[in-house]
């Protein structure tokens, strides 16, 4: 019987992890996670956590023990992956501390961003910088199977945007738009999606979770959709207008589109995250909008995609990570525009041997939906 994609991914990642642990001289790797930051845990074990904290203890080329904090999670995960030794207790951190202190060999802990206070004094935590860098390297450059998952997620993002456009109608509250998209994704077997949006005019300075505001004629409606397949996220950012776009909105769109295309054109192996960010920011500067590419108005100019929706590397002019083939990214020049408000536009892509492959197929347009 052929392996499922999730089994194939799990085995492939574990083999890469064992090889990396051997290279670093780690005998045991403790991977910590929670439902917010579960990317390291998912990479190492394939487990998608839904509640509580978890710590996985991986013996190099050996067994994996998973400590969780809820009996229902323990039962579920044990059924999903019978090869894991799963147990639950009131505190996974306390249990992990006990096991790490009694363990043998060189232990390391990752990712550092999820390192809890209760494990900070263990010897494994002393190796957390090296172990986190190891995990980052593994997660940034994707295998063919991982790339395929991101590609499928990007297709899901395209499909979801069509549903979003159908949902965006005058009088509907923002949260109903998200309800339509989420219901669609569940109907397609997509278990998770990160989505924020904005609606209104020049007063809108960013995106947020859906609120109770009802769409009105003339609104600019922004969204970023981030569905996942097998835990791998891809993203699309687009903006639509309720009714006919104004000349100012059309002019602004032209700037953002040119910036995104400049950023995408800059993506190739050997260049840096900084160079990509600069390529798209230079377009804004050329149009006299340089103030709006600063942290006052925007967070990042794109970011990595993978088992976390906002993975490394961030695309910023001060980030010098060198791009490598099979990194997956979104390039998005999202920021505030003084004439029309917050505007978003972005596509997911893969770095190839000599450039990039754009995954998103949704046209690069300023979309318009009818008022009635």
């Amino acid at each position: 019987m052929s392996k499922s994609l999730s089994e194939a991914l799990r085995e492939e990642r574990r083999a890469r992890l064992d090889a990396a642990m051997a290279k670093e001289g780690f005998d045991v790797l403790a991977v910590v996670g929670n439902p917010w930051r579960s990317d390291g845990l998912r990479y190492a074990t394939g487990v998608a956590l839904t509640e509580g904290h978890a710590v996985a203890l991986l013996e190099r080329d050996g067994a994996t023990r998973l400590l969780v904090e809820h009996p229902m999670e323990a039962e579920r995960i044990a059924a999903e992956q019978p090869e894991l030794k799963v147990s639950w207790s009131a505190s996974a951190v306390t249990e992990a501390q006990r096991l790490l202190e009694g363990g043998k060999g060189k232990a390391a802990l990752a990712p550092r961003i999820a390192l809890p206070f209760g494990l900070a004094s263990t010897s494994a935590a002393a190796q957390s910088v090296a172990a986190s860098a190891m995990l980052d390297r593994l997660m940034m450059r994707k295998s063919p199977a991982e790339v395929e998952a991101v590609r499928r997620a990007a297709a899901m993002a395209d499909d979801g945007y069509k549903i979003f456009m159908q949902a965006a109608r005058v009088g509907r509250p923002e949260y109903e738009l998200v309800a339509d998209v989420e219901a669609y994704y569940r109907s397609r077997g997509c278990p998770d999606n990160f989505q924020i949006l904005g609606s209104g005019g020049v007063e809108v300075r960013g995106m947020h979770p859906p609120g109770e505001r009802r769409l009105a004629p003339g609104d600019l409606v922004t969204t970023e959709l981030t569905p996942c397949i097998e835990g791998y996220y891809a993203q699309i950012c687009r903006t639509l207008v309720i009714g006919e776009p104004t000349p100012a909105q059309r002019r602004a769109f032209a700037v953002y589109n040119e910036a995104m295309e400049a950023g995408i054109a800059a993506v190739r192996p050997g260049t840096t995250a900084s160079a990509v960010a600069k390529a798209l920011n230079d377009v804004f500067r050329r149009f006299g909008l340089g103030d709006y590419v600063t942290s006052e108005y925007t967070r990042v100019r794109g970011h990595g995609l993978g088992l976390y929706a906002d993975s490394k590397p961030q695309l910023l002019e001060d980030v010098n990570v060198v791009l490598e083939p099979d990194m997956t990214l979104i390039v998005h020049p999202n920021t505030y525009h003084p004439e029309i408000g917050y505007f978003v536009h972005g596509d997911s892509l893969r770095v190839t041997e000599n450039g990039c492959e754009v995954f998103c197929r949704t046209p690069r347009e300023l979309f318009s939906v009818p008022v009635h």
């Binding site: 917010w36 009996p71 579920r76 059924a79 550092r112 961003i113 935590a125 949260y175 989420e182 942290s295």
Partner: protein
């Protein structure tokens, strides 16, 4: 990440209610001689900050600092332009942008608790063991390692009973969850159809978050699974819906049969309601009482006592791993009772949210 409605209605949760909750914490802090309490929040550990301020992070993280007097101060790792949104959805004193929460906390505590400099101050941290080291490290480097005490028991002691506002949100959440389960298509052949129906109903009603586990075929397995892509539904299946409304979580379960529901399921529903009604603060750790129409394979009682929306208070059952967890709950506490029975017709799941009765009074069921 949270993706449903996030908003604050002062009609549902008046500012005075949030002030009173902060006041409860401050009274306990004064008794324990704590100068400040740190409450961390992120998508997966939001509950204490939500209870104190109504804030629910959809992404990123924040740290709420409660001093002995005055409104809480929020240090938010979100970018500055998100501050207006934070103020719209929460009730908090100052909101400070702090890309590095730990360094931000050091600056604030130096200013507000000067006696820390002489080694005399005490800072409580709710769920200190789970507190992110990236936030704690600057506090330790400031020389305050010994001043950082675990405020988990102190917070748990004041977190319950629930106030009427929280019970109102839970009642509303339970109603939404029940309606979403009523929307399950009667002829669903795949889990994706059930999941889509639940999402559409719950989110259009204003759910903040929806988590669904499904046991797709009860004749094969009683395990409630996270559905990654899809699953074929058998003639009998179970759907567990965990739903959040404005920071308050409930769980409900619906067992579905394609034909007439087994007689034992109705008996199980009646037993669960009766057993839950008879729980009290004195016996809650013992689990559901009374003669069940089948073997109680697993049961758990959950409530919010810290940063997790629902924490296991007590747990047991014939099929359960031996794990010793037993906390107490006062009368008036908001909780959820979950059970898995093995009836003569196979496995059956049930969950019911409740407000725990005092000695001699019935526990109130919210669904």
């Amino acid at each position: 990440m949270r993706r449903g409605l996030i908003s604050w209605s002062a009609r549902e949760v008046p500012a005075s209610v949030l002030d009173a909750r902060v006041g409860r914490l401050q009274a306990a802090m004064r008794a324990e001689k704590l100068d400040a309490v740190l409450a961390y929040t992120c998508f997966s550990q939001p509950a204490s900050v939500t209870w104190l301020t109504h804030f629910v992070p959809y992404w990123n993280d924040a740290l709420v600092v409660v001093f002995r007097e005055g409104p809480p101060v929020m240090l938010a790792a979100f970018s500055k332009r998100v501050q207006n949104w934070i103020r719209e959805v929460s009730h908090v004193g100052e909101v400070m942008t702090a890309p590095n929460l730990g360094r931000g906390a050091v600056g604030l505590l130096k200013e507000r608790v000067p006696r820390l400099a002489s080694g005399a101050g005490r800072i409580g941290i709710i769920e200190r063991d789970d507190f992110p080291w990236t936030v704690a490290e600057p506090l330790v480097e400031a020389g305050w390692g010994n001043a950082l005490v675990d405020a988990t028991p102190l917070y748990a002691a004041i977190r319950q009973p629930a106030d009427p506002a929280e019970i109102g949100l839970a009642q509303h959440a339970a109603g939404m969850a029940g309606k979403a389960l009523d929307a399950l298509p009667s002829n669903a052949g795949k889990a994706s159809q059930s999941l889509a129906a639940i999402e559409a109903s719950a989110r259009c009603d204003g759910a903040e978050e929806v988590l669904v586990r499904i046991a797709p075929d009860l004749t094969k397995s009683a395990v409630l699974q996270r559905i990654e892509e899809d699953a074929v539904l058998g003639a009998r299946y179970a759907v567990q819906l965990s739903l959040a409304y404005k920071g308050v979580w409930v769980r409900l379960v619906r067992c579905v049969s394609s034909g007439a529901a087994p007689v034992s399921w109705e008996a199980a529903r009646r037993w669960l309601a009766d057993a839950a009604t008879r729980m009290t603060a004195a016996n809650v750790a013992s689990g559901p009482q009374g003669s069940a129409p089948g073997e109680v394979a697993a049961w758990s009682v959950e409530a919010c006592l810290g940063n997790e929306p629902l924490t296991v208070i007590a747990h047991g059952g014939s099929g359960s791993a031996r794990t010793s967890v037993s906390r107490s709950l006062p009368a008036g506490a908001l909780g959820v009772l979950n059970v898995q029975l093995l009836t003569k017709d196979g496995p059956w799941h049930g969950s019911v949210p409740f407000v725990l009765g005092a000695q001699g009074a019935s526990t109130k069921l919210l669904a």
